[in-house]
């Protein structure tokens, strides 16, 4: 398999840099600072130290025995990113980018956030390194992920509400980009996913690759073999890219990405970019995107604020086209059921984002034999979601309870 991206940040036809000229010098600076850092053992050692001692890595690869019994097929493992400091895989990336910001002499971090997990992880990394921090968040997301707003503020970040468009993740990215346009000389934009202009898709993937490296080693230790399938949810696609990349060369390992089908793809109220979108340009890269015929971004919907996004990382578009990863989707209702099932069966409350991956795992597991192995990337914990789930399902939190 060819190595992607190329020097200009292309994954096949996808990726690139579609941003105002004002940002180009900063992207060049970032790409070169990242290339230097990647080859610098001091940087790698410091990152490794922080991932262990601060973020709590490695995370467990947990054999979910009761879930395996319930589903009656493959042996189901959960890669426990929910156990990291701040509660999701996002911290892997923010610690790396905050170190880079310091290396570049930038004293301020800005970030967008949807579910609030990337915002919390950025706020945490900023506090750790004594950097100023502003987080852009759609006002609808501030409502449905209220707990994360408090967490960001507690760690000294300023949370800026964005009330344009649908007041969700896409709009938060627009505002963060506008901030960066004016502050680019002193501020690092700590982008949260494998989308955006080069070098973000590559750099964020690389920082998240720790998930896949650990999972690959752990499954070999625990099962003596590679998994038959690896399943992850895909919004922008960072947790999926992080785990998939470690298994890309192992053609026998099925890789499955799960997007948010919202109220069903046919309803038009979804965020299943790869399943229902077309190639286009959004937020700095060429990739699949949900747009109308003219190229205007379409409104999207998902119960999960982290997946509620009309774009996707360019490398996922590349994997979709070359067939290495199969992309599917899960509806809001299915995700809520999976949320409840994991909580009751294993005593683990998953993030609504990760619940989408569980929906597909539940479908795939029974089709595999009992000796086969399936890994679900449990990208985050669901503490942030309990209020919203209670609102949707009723205080008893049973699927069908209210929604």
């Amino acid at each position: 398999m060819a190595t992607v991206p190329d020097a200009s940040g292309r994954f096949g036809p996808y990726g690139g840099r579609y941003v105002p000229e004002t940002l180009m010098a900063a992207l060049d600076q970032l790409a070169s600072a990242y290339a230097d850092a990647r080859d610098d053992s001091d940087f790698r050692d410091e990152l490794d130290y922080l991932l262990r001692q601060f973020a709590g890595r490695p995370t467990a690869l947990y054999f979910a025995r009761r879930l395996t019994d319930a589903w009656g097929g493959a042996r189901v493992y959960l890669k426990r990113e929910d156990l990291t400091h701040t509660g999701a895989h996002k911290i892997n990336n923010t610690v790396g980018q905050a170190l880079l910001a310091v290396r570049m002499g930038k004293r301020r971090l800005i970030a967008e956030t949807g579910a609030g997990q990337h915002g919390v992880a950025t706020a945490s990394a900023a506090a750790l390194m004594g950097l100023e921090c502003d987080i852009y968040m759609g006002t609808e997301d501030m409502r449905r992920q209220r707990l994360n707003v408090f967490r960001m503020r507690a760690m000294g970040a300023r949370v800026v509400g964005v009330s344009s468009g649908q007041c969700t993740l896409k709009d938060a990215i627009n505002e963060a980009m506008r901030d960066w346009m004016a502050t680019v000389e002193t501020t690092h934009y700590c982008f949260g996913t494998t989308a955006g202009p080069h070098p973000f898709p590559t750099m964020v993937r690389d920082f998240q690759l720790v998930i896949g490296h650990e999972a690959r080693r752990q499954v070999q230790e625990q099962e003596g073999c590679l998994p038959d399938a690896v399943i992850a949810c895909v919004g922008g696609g960072s947790n999926a890219a992080g785990i998939f990349t470690a298994f890309l060369q192992d053609q026998a390992v099925q890789l499955i990405g799960v997007e948010a089908a919202g109220k069903g793809i046919a309803s038009g109220q979804h965020a299943a970019t790869l399943s229902a979108g077309k190639p286009g340009v959004l937020h700095g890269s060429l990739s699949y995107v949900l747009q109308d015929e003219a190229g205007q971004t379409l409104p999207v919907h998902s119960v999960s604020a982290g997946l509620d996004y009309p774009g996707v990382g360019p490398e996922h578009s590349y994997w979709k086209d070359n067939g290495r990863v199969r992309y599917t989707s899960a509806t809001d209702t299915e995700a809520l059921e999976a949320f409840c099932e994991l909580a009751r069966t294993e005593g683990i409350i998953p993030a609504l984002e990760s619940s989408h991956a569980l929906v597909e795992a539940r479908k795939v597991a029974p089709t595999l034999e009992k000796r086969q192995v399936l890994i679900v990337n449990l990208s985050g914990r669901g503490d942030k979601d309990v209020e919203e789930v209670a609102r949707l399902l009723g205080d008893e939190m049973r699927p069908g309870g209210r929604a």
């Binding site: 690139g16 579609y18 940002l23 900063a26 506008r178 340009v281 937020h283 003219a294 190229g295």
Partner: protein
């Protein structure tokens, strides 16, 4: 020769600097846009016009132009409809040079050749694609060149000298010199180092240099005229349209023209 090159040639001959209003197309509807363009031509108040195509996610624009685009999108204005309006105005005798300010999202989706072909057919003279840096613009540049349309590139205060040289060697029509490190919007004053920066661009450029972002008062226009070949005014006009959005097209057009007269006065004296 296309209208952009012809306009700058005439301006140079007359020893004048260009005044270039930016109009967000379709704000609050396309009848207003048509009336504004006709009035600007009739009163001789614009040397060139920059026509903004409403886009859902304009990351280089401040609140004023974002709001203009939102009003236009809410009125159902599409890129197709903007181009069709220009086509009708050309048929009715509009002869102003018109450059389209359009996001690459909107150019890419229907296909670059198809978009440019449509724009050329209705009489658009050049494209400014603010989110398509020179590094990615090869395919578009080629198609624009064969359609005899200007490919207007931007330079920013953050552009390093080597990069600036590359941009200036590819720009045709004019080069859009972004006055500030930031987004569009009315500002009180130019940032520190502004004069030196614009002089640097002007010295290195073979095409005319026009300055935009933050220009909203006659004294700004006067200052730019000392340094460059033209001044671009956007948000101040959008602001004026917003203030009069409920009015009849002719009334809004008169308001915009009056504002342009005031802003361009330093160039006519």
């Amino acid at each position: 020769m296309n209208r952009v090159d012809a306009a700058f040639r005439r301006l140079r001959r007359e020893g004048r600097k260009a005044f270039m209003p930016f109009i967000a197309a379709g704000d609050p509807n396309l009848d207003v846009t048509a009336a504004v363009l006709r009035t600007l031509q009739d009163r001789g108040l614009a040397d060139l016009v920059e026509l903004g195509v409403p886009f859902s996610d304009p990351i280089a624009d401040g609140p004023t132009i974002q709001a203009s685009y939102q009003r236009a999108l809410a009125a159902g204005v599409t890129p197709q409809a903007v181009l069709d309006t220009v086509g009708r105005l050309r048929a009715g005798g509009l002869n102003l040079p018109i450059c389209l300010m359009v996001s690459y999202s909107l150019v890419y989706r229907p296909g670059v050749p198809a978009f440019v072909e449509h724009a050329a057919a209705v009489g658009i003279d050049g494209l400014i694609v603010p989110d398509l840096p020179v590094d990615e613009s090869g395919p578009l540049a080629e198609i624009l060149s064969s359609a005899d349309m200007a490919h207007i590139l931007l330079v920013a205060p953050t552009t390093p000298p080597g990069r600036r040289k590359t941009i200036l060697s590819h720009a045709t029509g004019f080069v859009y010199c972004v006055s500030v490190t930031g987004i569009t919007g009315e500002r009180d004053a130019f940032p520190p180092g502004f004069e030196e920066y614009v002089r640097g661009v002007k010295k290195a450029a073979k095409v005319p240099v026009c300055v935009g972002f933050g220009i909203s008062r006659p004294e700004h226009v006067a200052a730019v005229a000392q340094l460059a070949d033209g001044a671009i005014v956007g948000s101040a006009i959008s602001h004026r349209i917003a203030d009069n959005a409920g009015g009849a097209p002719a009334k809004i057009a008169r308001e915009v023209a009056d504002l342009c007269q005031e802003l361009s006065a330093p160039l006519r004296s």
